[in-house]
C-alpha cells in the first residue's frame, strides 16, 4: 500500500509534466449508456429503417421500423422494440417484433432468431451489426433455422407458395388458420 501511494505520486508527477489537465470528479453516466450513445452516433439506417425514441432521454429503449425495399417483404412496415439493459454490451440488446408476422425466423410472439442476438453475441458487436442482421432477415428469410416451423417448411418446399402466403399475411389475412397483422404501409 505504501508502495502504491508513492508510485501513484510519481505517476501523477509524470502526468503533470506531460501537461495533462485533470478535473477532479467522475461522471455519473452509466457505462451502458455511454456505449449506446456511441453506437447510436455510428448507426447507418439507410432509407429502409427509422428509429423512434418514445422518451428521447432514455436511449436504452427505442423502436426500430424496417420497411424493406426489395425481397418478399417489400412494402411491409415492421416495428421492433429494442430494450438494452445496464449490462450492455456484455448482454445483447433484447429485440422483439410488435406485429404478428409470417416469417420463418420470427415467431408469433415476436421473438427473433438471429444468431448475434443470442449465441453469437459479443461485446465487440454494436447496434449497427444488429440492425444490419435484422434487415437481412427480411431480405433472406432462412428456412434452416426456423422459429416458425410452418413458415420454414413452406419456404423450403414451395418458394412461390411461401411468397404468396407472405403477401396475404402482410395484407392482414389468415394463413393456415392463423390471423396475421396487416403491415402494408
Amino acid at each position: 500500500m505504501l508502495k502504491i501511494w508513492s508510485m501513484k505520486k510519481e505517476q501523477k508527477d509524470a502526468e503533470n509534466a506531460e501537461g495533462h489537465a485533470s478535473g477532479g470528479k467522475k461522471k455519473k453516466i452509466t457505462a451502458a449508456q455511454l456505449r449506446v450513445q456511441k453506437d447510436l452516433s455510428e448507426l447507418s439506417l439507410g432509407d429502409t429503417m427509422k428509429t423512434d425514441f418514445p422518451d428521447p432521454d432514455d436511449i436504452l429503449n427505442f423502436v426500430l421500423m424496417i420497411e424493406p425495399d426489395e425481397g418478399m417483404y417489400k412494402g411491409g412496415r415492421f416495428t421492433f422494440d429494442f430494450n438494452i439493459n445496464q449490462n450492455f454490451p456484455h448482454d445483447p440488446p433484447k429485440v422483439r417484433c410488435r406485429e404478428k408476422i409470417y416469417h420463418p425466423n420470427i415467431d408469433l410472439e415476436g421473438k427473433v432468431c438471429l444468431n448475434i442476438l443470442r449465441e453469437d453475441w459479443k461485446p465487440v458487436l454494436n447496434l449497427n451489426a444488429v440492425i444490419v442482421g435484422m434487415q437481412f432477415l427480411f431480405l433472406e428469410p432462412n428456412a434452416s433455422d426456423p422459429l416458425n416451423k410452418e413458415a420454414a417448411e413452406d419456404l423450403r418446399n414451395n418458394r412461390d407458395g411461401f411468397r404468396r402466403n407472405v403477401r396475404s399475411a402482410m395484407a392482414g389475412s389468415s394463413v393456415k388458420g392463423i390471423a396475421y397483422d396487416r403491415v402494408l404501409s
Binding site: M1, L2, K3, I4, W5, S6, M7, K8, K9, Q11, K12, A21, S22, G23, G24, K25, K26, K27, K28, I29, T30, A31, Q33, L34, Q37, K38, L40, S41, E42, L43, L45, K50, T51, D52, F53, P56, D57, D58, I59, Q86, N87, P89, H90, N105, D107, E109, K111, V112, C113, N115, R118, E119, W121, K122, P123, V124, P146, L147, K149, A152
Partner: protein, 435 residues
Amino acid sequence: MSVATQAPASAASPVDEDARWKYLNHIRQTPGPFTDPASQDEVAMRMFDNFKVLVIGAGGLGCEILKNLAMSRFRDIHVIDMDTIDISNLNRQFLFRKADVGSYKAEVAARFVMNRVKGVSITAHNKTIQEFDLDFYRQFQLVICGLDSIEARRWINSTLVTIAEEGDPDSIKPLIDGGTEGFKGQARVVLPSFTSCIECQLDMHAPRAAVPLCTIASIPRQPEHCIEWAHVIAWDQEKPFPKLDKDDPEHVTWLFNKAAKRADEFGIQGVTYSLTQGTIKNIIPAIASTNAIIAAACCNEAFKLATSSVQCFGFENNYMMYSGNDSIYTYTFNHQKKPDCPVCSDQSRPLDVDPKATLQELLDSLAVRPEAQLKAPSIRAEGKSLYMRAPPQLEEQTRPNLTKTLLELGLADGQYVNVTDKAFNTQFDFTLVFK
C-alpha cells in the same frame, strides 16, 4: 463440531498473541531485496493494526476469504451479502450448517468466524451493495470481491473509480476480485483510476453459453434445450404467473413439468427439477477446491497490499488466471488499461461555460477548443439527451434544445456531460464550470 462448544474452550486458555502471530510477524519483519524499506517502520507496522477491509459476497469464495483474512490477522472486516443460505450451499460454504438454512449468509459467516478466531471483528450487512453510499465505501482501505455476477462487479468497480480522487492517496481503495467457474478461476487487483479496471477487462469474461433459439424451438437434442424451451417459449405463450420468479418453487415446478413433457415427446432423457433450476439460473457447478485456490490468491494479495511486506499485484502484473480443466495451468500478466474505457479512462475535464449561453454556442465552442476539436458532437448529461446528431429521428427530437440556454436545460454547475463524435473512437467527458 458446533460453534457453541468451541467458544468456552478458547476462552479458558488465554491466547499468547506473540506466539499466535509468530510466523506472520516473521514474514512482515524480515525484509527481502524487494521489500519497501518504509514497510518496516513503526508507522507501517501500526497501519496494519487499524486496517479496515470490506468483503463483498459471503458465498463459496466469501467463506474462504473471511476465514483467510481472519487467520491472517485482519481485525476489522465488514461483509456484505444479500443472500440467504440454501441447502445446496452446504457442500462448500463451510461456515454454514444445516440449521442455518434460510438465515443470512453474511450474518452466519461473520458469527462463525468471530467465534472461531478470537480478536477479529466482522460486521455483517444483509443488503445489496447498491444500498450503500459512497461514504460507506470510503471507510475501507481495501475491498475484496467474491461475486458471481458481472453486474455487481461492474457496479463496485465504477463506485471505487468514482471515489478515487486525484491527489488523495487515501481515496484509492484497491479492489481485489476473485472469480471461479468450475475448474477455472481468476484473481486480479485493480488500483482504481490507475490500473486496468473491471470495465477495461470486460471481455475477459466468457460470454454466457446460449443455444440458438431455433434449436430450442424446433429440434431439441438435450434436456437443457427442453428446459430452455419451457423457459423462453412456453412461459411466454401461457404466462402461468404474471412474472417469472426463478426462486419460487411453484414457478420452477411449472417449467419442470413443461420441459419434462417436451422431453418425452422428443424422447430425451434427463430433465430433472434440479437441472431445471440450474439451467434457468445459469448455474455452473462450483468446485470447492477452485474456490479455495482463488480465495487464497486473493487473500495473499490483500495481506501483501496491507503490509507492503512483499511485492504484490498492482502496477505491473495484476491478473492471474487459473485453469484446472486440462491438468493445471496458470498465467499471470499485466492487463493494460483501456484508453477509451468508459469507466476509468481520463477523468472529466473542466469546461468553463456561461450558463446563459445556448447549447448551440456550447457545441460551437467545442469545435474550436484545441483539446476537443469536435466538428459533429453529440452530447448527453446523466439521464438526459441534450443533442444527439444521430439517428435522424433522435436528432429531430433533440434539436429544439440547441436554442435553449444551459440554465433552461436544467444543467447545473459541476454537471457531468459526455460528448461523442462519429469521427473519434473515444468519448470526451467534461464537468461544466459556470462562470
